[in-house]
């Protein structure tokens, strides 16, 4: 079974230099009070100026070739940048989707004109994307999308409703998955991806607020939106393959492990300050798992860098990692005995509140854990 060929990765020395540079940058940002560390910042931390400062340093779209504003860095370099940003609780939501999936998708499936139009802006940390995948009746069963793309002269006309579209109210560009042909026996056939610049008169964006009242998700209604042929991404009909390729890549990153790490770091410091570290082993077992999960996520990044498509390994990282993110919360609760308080000025109760209130999303976004386990089960040959 291919699963057992996954091997650990040792980062080359130049990436440790890169890591030092990012740490120094983050240290300076914190010292200047330019951001406040928080949990789950790749969903919640939209800060366009922070993204631009990262872009100036070449830390967004790193994998792009130089002519599109990148530095042709590999998956491991991006891994180092990403994990340092997440561990520090930095606000990375603005460029997150563009850097992680839309950029690589454009690079792989886009036309030359599309690449020149979009990739340099992504790499500068100026052009932000949202992706319209889920629908009111389509969650994990992505092949059931009903948003319709109808062929017209010189393009397509799109109608339908997308939900849970993170950041659509800020993003300059939206990529929509839509049905280009009626559902057939092969449910995965007849889908396509379409690029729509925002704001657009025929696209309505309405907030879907989280249980905290925060506005990150949106409902996006497309009412006869004309998309010219030049803004079709890849091949009409091949959308399923394109999207699942992106999803496989987005499942294994450090953001599936580290969403609650800033909480763990703050709790550790609070326990140490109170002289209460080392009295129980609960923290050690969490640290052990975090260390191992990071090695596994890194190993998948190594496989990606070598040109592999480790979709099943990625699913395993996400299943284990996102459950771990919740374990961190329980560990901190038990060890610190602090009451979560979103309005607290102290970091620990505030972060605990943020983590608890964001926790339902961890094991839902990007494919529920039940779906991921189904992916693994198929590899095991039992489905």
């Amino acid at each position: 079974m291919d699963l057992w060929n996954l091997r650990p990765v040792t980062l080359p020395a130049e990436l440790e230099t890169l890591r030092r540079d990012i740490r120094a940058f983050l240290g300076a940002e914190l010292a200047a009070g330019r951001f406040t560390p928080r949990c789950d910042q790749w969903l919640g931390g939209w800060d366009a100026s922070f993204s631009r400062r990262l872009g100036e340093r070449g830390w967004i779209g790193m994998a792009f070739p130089e002519q599109y504003g990148g530095r042709q860095a590999g998956a491991l370099a991006r891994f180092v940048v990403t994990e340092e940003l997440l561990a520090a609780g930095a606000p990375v939501a603005a460029h997150w989707i563009a850097d992680r999936q839309t950029g690589p998708g454009l690079l792989r499936f886009g036309t030359e004109e599309q690449k020149h139009t979009y990739l340099p802006g992504i790499a500068r940390g100026e052009r932000f994307f949202a992706v319209g995948l889920s629908e009111p009746d389509t969650g994990s069963d992505l092949a059931s999308v009903r948003t319709r793309a109808t062929r017209v002269v010189d393009g397509w006309r799109l109608s339908g409703t997308k939900v849970w579209t993170s950041g659509a109210h800020h993003a300059q560009t939206l990529v929509v998955l839509a049905r280009t042909a009626a559902p057939a026996a092969d449910r995965h056939a007849g889908l396509g991806q379409f690029i729509i610049d925002l704001p657009h008169p025929a696209v309505q964006i309405r907030p879907i607020r989280l249980l905290t009242g925060e506005h990150h998700f949106n409902e996006v209604v497309l009412d006869e939106v004309f998309v010219p042929d030049a803004r079709v991404l890849g091949e009409p009909g091949d959308g399923w393959h394109q999207v699942t390729h992106e999803l496989a890549m987005e499942r294994s990153g450090p953001e599936r492990i580290l969403s609650t790490f800033p909480l763990l770091a703050v709790a550790t410091e609070s326990l140490a300050a109170a002289g209460r570290l080392g009295e129980r082993c609960a923290l050690g077992s969490v640290v052990a798992r975090l260390w191992a999960l990071r090695q596994m996520s890194l190993a998948v990044a190594g496989r990606l860098e070598a040109g592999g498509v480790p979709a099943v390994e990625a699913a395993a990282v996400k299943d284990l990692g996102t459950r771990f993110e919740n374990t961190v919360i329980d560990c901190v609760r038990m060890l610190t005995q602090v009451e979560p308080d979103p309005g607290a000025t102290d970091e620990l109760p505030r972060m605990l509140a943020e983590a608890v209130l964001h926790s339902p999303g961890f094991t839902l976004r990007g494919g529920t854990n039940e779906i991921l386990r189904g992916v693994i089960a198929r590899q095991l040959g039992v489905r």
Partner: protein, 361 residues
């Protein structure tokens, strides 16, 4: 996988397949498998990670760990870790040739006294639960700054086992060992002891990785054969979800163990890495064993079914060389020592650059 490890993996697999455990044979040979040992010896595996100039076949800890994973899969009743990674490397560390044949490794504890005497050392007392002592031709004892090489017959072996039936013998000593078999450590004693403990713990974690993989494979196969309610039980989502959960733990353990082996070879964050790997292996051992039995139903709970070879070892090995609590406590100490802002560098294994915080602004 690099080519050397891939070739080694294949040849150890083939030898284990040929000379693998047969309960009846094991009973006749006191619970170990001498024919498998000879076969491993003939392909040059038994002294892997011991430098060639000291009679070993070279290689690093990463290579030895790859072999241990396969031996764990096959529930191989041979003292490979003890001979190669532990006793063999101790002797080589003193600049001494490693004798042929299986070895057992002992770290002298408070119950074992080693005193200088005319022409050598006087040994008295007992070493408890020594893995494979009865199978060893020589016993290698680490006593502070000395390493002592004994013939097995110089100790009195009282047989004991772990819950998988593997030899864990008490060895009593009352003998004088001549000076030509007493060696001085070349390295700093505390460091040698620390490294010996790390390799002991890593070896058990690597065996767990292999046994867990076998338990999963047996369970996947069984779920495809066993029919209930008119279909194979693998068709039930509840069973599929259990199997997927097992696979995740097995993969996590494998990666953790192999990454820890790299950390030991490069001496970078080895103590954190090994403690983390054994903690994760211990957690996985419990989960994988219980789900494997759950899916096998009552059949897996019987002596006639091979599942027990894997699960009894998982249960035994998780408590040997430091269980989850003991290894977690090691990590707790590291977290404490890392201090403010030190948790992430500890995890990422990178040199720590202090990040200014609000208080220090």
């Amino acid at each position: 996988m690099n080519d050397i490890i891939e070739a080694l993996d294949a040849s150890v697999r083939s030898v284990c397949g040929k000379y693998g455990a047969d309960d009846e044979a094991l009973r006749r040979t006191d619970g170990w498998n001498p024919s498998l040992w000879s076969a491993l010896e003939s392909i040059g595996v038994t002294t892997l990670s011991v430098p060639e100039e000291y009679g070993g076949s070279g290689g690093d800890v990463v290579t030895a760990v790859a072999v241990l994973e396969v031996l764990g899969e096959y529930a191989a009743a041979v003292p490979f870790a003890e001979t190669a990674l532990l006793a063999g490397r101790l002797l080589a560390g003193c600049g001494v040739q490693v004798p042929p044949g299986p070895l057992a490794a002992i770290v002298a504890g408070p119950e074992l006294q080693v005193q200088p005497t005319v022409g050598g050392v006087q040994m008295s007392g007992v070493a408890r639960r020594v893995p494979w002592a009865r199978a060893a031709e020589h016993l290698v004892v680490l006593a502070e700054d000395q390493v002592i090489l004994l013939r097995r017959a110089e100790g009195l072996v009282a047989q004991g086992t772990n819950i998988a039936g593997e030899p864990r013998d008490d060895v009593a000593f009352d003998c004088t060992v001549p000076a030509e078999r007493v060696y001085w450590l070349r390295g700093e004693p505390q460091r040698v002891l620390r490294e010996q403990r790390l390799r002991t713990t890593l070896a058990r974690a690597a065996l767990i990785a292999g046994a867990a993989r076998r338990a999963l494979e047996l369970t996947v196969a069984y779920a495809g054969e066993r029919e209930q309610f008119g279909r194979p039980i693998k068709k039930f989502q509840a069973v599929q979800q259990h199997l997927a959960a097992m696979a995740g733990e097995v993969l996590l353990t494998k990666i953790a163990v192999e990454a820890a082996a790299v950390a030991v070879d490069t001496d970078s964050g080895a103590e954190v890495a090994v403690a983390a790997a054994k903690t994760v292996a211990g957690q996985a051992a419990g989960l994988v064993a219980s789900l494997a039995h759950q899916i096998h139903g009552a059949l897996g709970y019987t002596e006639e079914h091979p599942l027990r070879h894997s699960t009894t070892r998982l249960w035994a090995w998780r408590d040997e060389a430091g269980n989850e609590a003991a290894c977690s406590a090691v990590l707790d100490q590291h977290v404490l020592a890392a201090g403010k802002g030190g948790l992430w560098p500890l995890i990422s294994g990178a040199a720590y650059v202090p990040v200014p915080t609000k208080e220090s602004r």
